[in-house]
């Protein structure tokens, strides 16, 4: 009797359901998660590290840690924030190991434009792509000085004081920009009806 295509069945499962399989040692489930989210992870790593080779290592290490730490994953929590948390921490470790400053706003756009996935257009038709577009739009709509500090904080892994040093601006100014920028981003996402757990 012909066996059902396991990959087809895995594609129908949610990220959280796949994580249960991964926790049980199912490498096919992990491969499914990789195929589903490796582009986002690689994009985030490239965004933060602005270099292909270390970003590739972050991708591999992110899914390796998902594989190894699947047993510690909390089933009632969302998978993507957990996965992006792993990726971001790996990138910050790499940035601190390199002891380099994050690239300035716009410096990474060149490499990102070169590496941007050609499949992105395909994703445009999905809700995922729409949300991605709205978040990008909400971030882009922020005043440049507020968007800059938020990006330096999140994608650059810098503390407020480091941002102040990097931009040679008063610490209080940086704190204010971060506060205002994050509040506006929150309002914009609420306006778009986007929630972190709504994916």
């Amino acid at each position: 009797m012909a066996q059902p295509d396991n990959s087809v069945n895995l594609k129908r499962l949610s990220d959280e359901a796949l994580m249960e399989l991964v926790a049980a040692g199912d490498s096919a489930a992990l491969a499914q998660l990789y195929d589903r989210h490796a582009r986002a992870v690689y994009g985030l790593a490239l965004r933060m590290l602005a270099a292909a080779e270390p970003a590739e290592e972050v991708v591999q290490e992110t899914f390796w840690r998902i594989w190894k730490r699947a047993a510690t994953y909390q089933r009632n929590s969302s998978f993507l924030p957990w996965m992006f948390g792993i990726t971001r921490n790996l990138c910050i470790d790499e940035l601190r190991r390199r002891q380099v400053r994050p690239v300035a706003i716009g410096d990474d756009e060149e490499i990102l434009s070169v590496l941007t996935d050609q499949q992105q257009n395909v994703e445009q038709s999905t809700l995922e792509a729409e949300r991605r577009r709205l978040i990008t739009s909400a971030l882009a709509d922020l005043p440049q000085d507020q968007r800059e500090v938020i990006e330096l904080a999140y994608f650059g892994g810098l503390s407020q004081r480091e941002i102040a040093d990097h931009l040679q601006s008063p610490l209080g100014t940086i704190k204010t920009r971060i506060r205002l920028g994050l509040q506006k981003l929150k309002q914009a996402l609420l306006h778009y009806g986007i929630d972190a757990n709504d994916h």
Binding site: V41, G43, L112, L115, A153, S159, R179, L182
Partner: protein, 292 residues
């Protein structure tokens, strides 16, 4: 609360949500969160916003070798897990083998112990057997010696019995002689040598009408082993052998005779020297003679 205080708290919460809070502000943030549930809720909302920031990064497909390397790494990890699992917990197929090996080891140990015990027992039995064989040989030697001694004693007893029989016969003969010699009414006749150089003589004690008589000889010389003295009764018509005898070292001898009829029916007696096996009275020498 002043607006400046609120803005300061909001800044702490925003920096905390972005992960950009300086170490020096951690204590202040903790105080705010402990004091204000509203602040805790606000922090959660801001964290959800920050969690969406990765979506602002473009989607970019990593090179194929990244996936290949990852899956190789995972496959190696799975193999290591399986080997570790099989090493820590024996498989179902190996358990019977281990059990069999354990049972076989136990059987071998028991057999070894049993064999060792048997060998010890066999050794002890062999030693006992050796001691018993020595004891048996000693007993057999003792029995043989006893048998030899018994045989000697038997022979000696037989000899003694023969001697005793002879003695008893001699005693009986002596008693008869004494009774003949000492009985009242006994008649005595003398036998004299036929040659002058012979100092021998004989006395015959008899009862008239009786067939038995006793003759006591003395001075007779000892004869060669193939010769004997023979006593004859004669009635004038024929001569009848009435017994033969030897003399001891002193030349003495006693002869009890039983005649075919009463002794006093004969008229003459004589003693001859003859061969043991072939008595021929006509060809022999008469050395004693007497009349009745």
């Amino acid at each position: 609360m002043h607006d400046s205080d609120t803005e300061q708290e909001q800044s702490l919460l925003a920096a905390a949500a972005l992960g950009s809070l300086d170490q020096t502000d951690l204590a202040a943030l903790e105080q705010v969160l402990v004091r204000s549930p509203t602040a805790r809720a606000e922090l959660d909302q801001l964290r959800e916003v920050v969690a969406l920031l990765p979506y602002a990064a473009p989607l970019i497909t990593p090179p194929a070798h990244v996936r290949a390397l990852l899956m190789e790494r995972i496959a190696a990890d799975q193999a290591a897990r399986r080997s570790s699992k099989s090493a820590s917990s024996p498989s179902r197929t190996s358990r019977p083998m281990l059990a069999s090996l354990f049972s076989l080891t136990v059987v071998i140990v028991l057999l070894g112990w049993f064999t060792f015990t048997l060998q010890q027992q066999v050794t002890a039995i062999n030693e006992t057997n050796q001691r018993l064989l020595v004891a048996i040989e000693q007993l057999q030697a003792s029995v043989t010696a006893s048998e030899e001694r018994q045989s000697q004693l038997t022979t000696q007893l037989a000899s003694y019995e023969q001697q005793l029989a002879r003695l008893n016969e001699q005693i009986a003969q002596e008693r008869l002689l004494v009774s003949f010699v000492s009985a009242p009414g006994v008649a005595t006749r003398e036998l004299r040598p036929t040659r002058g150089d012979l100092a021998a003589r004989g006395e015959m004690y008899m009862y008239p009408g009786e067939t038995q008589a006793v003759v006591i000889f003395s001075g007779l010389p000892a004869l060669e082993p193939d010769r004997v003295y023979r006593f004859w009764l004669s009635d004038g018509v024929q001569r009848i052998a009435a017994g033969s005898f030897q003399v001891d070292a002193t030349g003495l001898a006693t002869l009890i005779i039983t005649a075919p009829r009463e002794v006093n029916a004969f008229t003459e007696v004589m003693v001859t020297v003859e061969p043991v096996t072939n008595p021929t009275p006509d060809a022999v020498e008469v050395i004693l003679t007497g009349t009745l």
